[in-house]
């Protein structure tokens, strides 16, 4: 199977700090990856690099068997979308305008948004529970509502690969699960892929079948959930002991 997204011989770092080197990482169709690691280990930088927004120190990102740098941003944006950790809003915008902006890579240069773009945006708003908020100003939303709007914009963009940077920030417990459920369902439906940065190990274990650990020293490990979720590895990753508790046929991880 050809990977949807691939890091070949990737070396990523900022200034003196090295996050990974010579990393070979293939993201295959249908896979959901969680990227775990301590603060400052380079999780966000890794996501930005996969999206082609930050240059690599060495190596290449390949998207659909082509080097990402050889593709236009527009082509990239049609198959790969990213939910950033934080957004800034400098000018007044409505919720619908923000969600509709997700359609940008699909709209021809000389055109306005079509009825289809509008329908897809409204559908994304239904899926994220934002019905009735179309004309609200972004500045009037709560943190959780804003996060769902950002997720809706990504859903409207409808890429094959979702890169999610702490998608559950500001969301209540129920909404966290509903949102991640939504994204994993999309991945399965379209045989796409997802890579997310998450701090909640149990949420990650619930929704992701593959894990990549960034230790913050340049060392990385990746593999399936079963290979990766082990006491000794997690202890080393978080510099804190983690214990599994059996629960309903699965395991819950608690910090010691």
């Amino acid at each position: 199977m050809t990977p949807l997204l691939e890091l070949r011989n990737g070396r990523i770092g900022v200034g003196e700090r090295l996050f990974c080197q010579a990393l070979q990482w293939s993201i295959l169709p249908g896979q959901c990856w969680a990227v775990l690691g301590p603060n400052g280990a380079g999780k966000t930088t890794l996501l930005h690099t996969l999206a082609g927004l930050t240059p690599l120190q060495a190596g290449q990102v390949w998207l659909d068997n082509q080097p990402l740098t050889a593709l236009s941003r527009r082509v990239v944006a049609r198959s790969l979308g990213i939910l950033f950790q934080e957004y800034a809003y400098h000018f007044p915008l409505t919720v619908l305008e923000t969600v509709l902006a997700g359609r940008h890579p699909h709209i021809p240069f000389w055109s306005f948004e079509s009825d289809r773009d509008r329908a897809l945006s409204l559908e994304a708003m239904v899926e994220t529970g934002l019905v009735g908020m179309e004309e609200r100003l972004v500045s009037s939303l709560s943190g959780g509502e804003r996060r769902r709007m950002e997720a809706a914009a990504l859903l409207a963009q409808a890429p094959k690969i979702f890169l999610l940077d702490e998608p559950t920030n500001h969301l209540d417990l129920n909404r966290q699960i509903v949102l991640l459920d939504l994204f994993t369902r999309k991945v399965r439906q379209q045989n796409g892929a997802m890579v997310m940065v998450l701090h909640d190990l149990n949420l990650a274990a619930r929704f992701c079948d593959h894990f990549l650990f960034l230790f913050g020293t340049g060392e990385t490990l990746h593999g399936t959930r079963e290979e990766m979720l082990q006491e000794s590895l997690l202890h080393r990753l978080f510099s804190h002991p983690m214990y599994p508790i059996a629960h309903g046929g699965g395991r819950i991880w608690v910090p010691g």
Partner: protein
Amino acid sequence: MTTPDFMGQSALRGGERGLASVAVLSLLLLFAIGVFVLALAVGGLRGGVVDLLWGGGDPLVLKVVLELRLPRALGAMAVGGLLSVAGVLMQTLLRNPLADPYILGLSGGAACGAILALLMGLSGLWVEGGAWLGALLTMAVVFWLAGSSTGWDGSRLLLTGVVVASGWGAGVSFLLYLVPDDRLRGALFWIMGDLSRGSNPLVTWSVLGVVVAITWPLARSLNLLATGSMRAAALGVAVGPLRILIYLLASLSAAAAVAAAGSIGFVGLVTPHLLRLLGCGDLRVLVPGSVLLGGGLLTLADLLARSVVAPQQMPVGILTAMLGAPVFLWLLQRSSR
């Protein structure tokens, strides 16, 4: 610098947004045309203007309208449009609602160039050429300084421009100190902003045409750029080239406006915000809308500047700030309730 929430309390909402945009633009067009006609009709030489329409009338009135009022109204319209579009673009580029056309130091550079030309005993087109030279020099210096290392993040560009601007400010003060008394009035022109000098409207209109023609089709991408470079890039915008293009277009607009009329304050800052208050935050409406509104407002202000103290003429820059500040504050108060 945080964004105040006030700016979006718009009156226009709902699914009829597209229609509302067309309505707003049509109204603005009517406003601009109305003001333009008024500017041709009103002046020290009263009466007889209507007769001209029927082919009759006093040849002296015809001469005044065609040779004095028409070029001046055309100039005011273009300069107002240039300042407003430059304001929109600077605010978008720097992602800062407080940005105005002069924020990156163009007006200071232009003033220095012009006053230096005056000091050298030059006059007329040479002085305007000096202003162009100063503005373009500033544009190049800021571009080079801000782009050299970190590849153009917004705050670095802003900081570079603001520091260059304050440097020019000191330069202007120094040159004013050197300027002999008999040329002081001509030098002050560049600081206050005045449309009475009668610059060739062909230049300003050409620049305005080029800038709007390039900017308007890019407006949807610019909407995204205003929300952040990373987000814009993630949604398929080629951010690097676009930012450079917008920097060049905004600077060119501001340079053309300053070279023609000195640094007229307030129009470029406030016009975009007035439209945002009306709910026209989308750059596809904001760009043409601010050209019409800014052009109309400046023409109106210039009409007042040459009428209220007639036969004296007040530099229009004084009036734009004197009227603009209270009007904007009033709107702000009203909208935040």
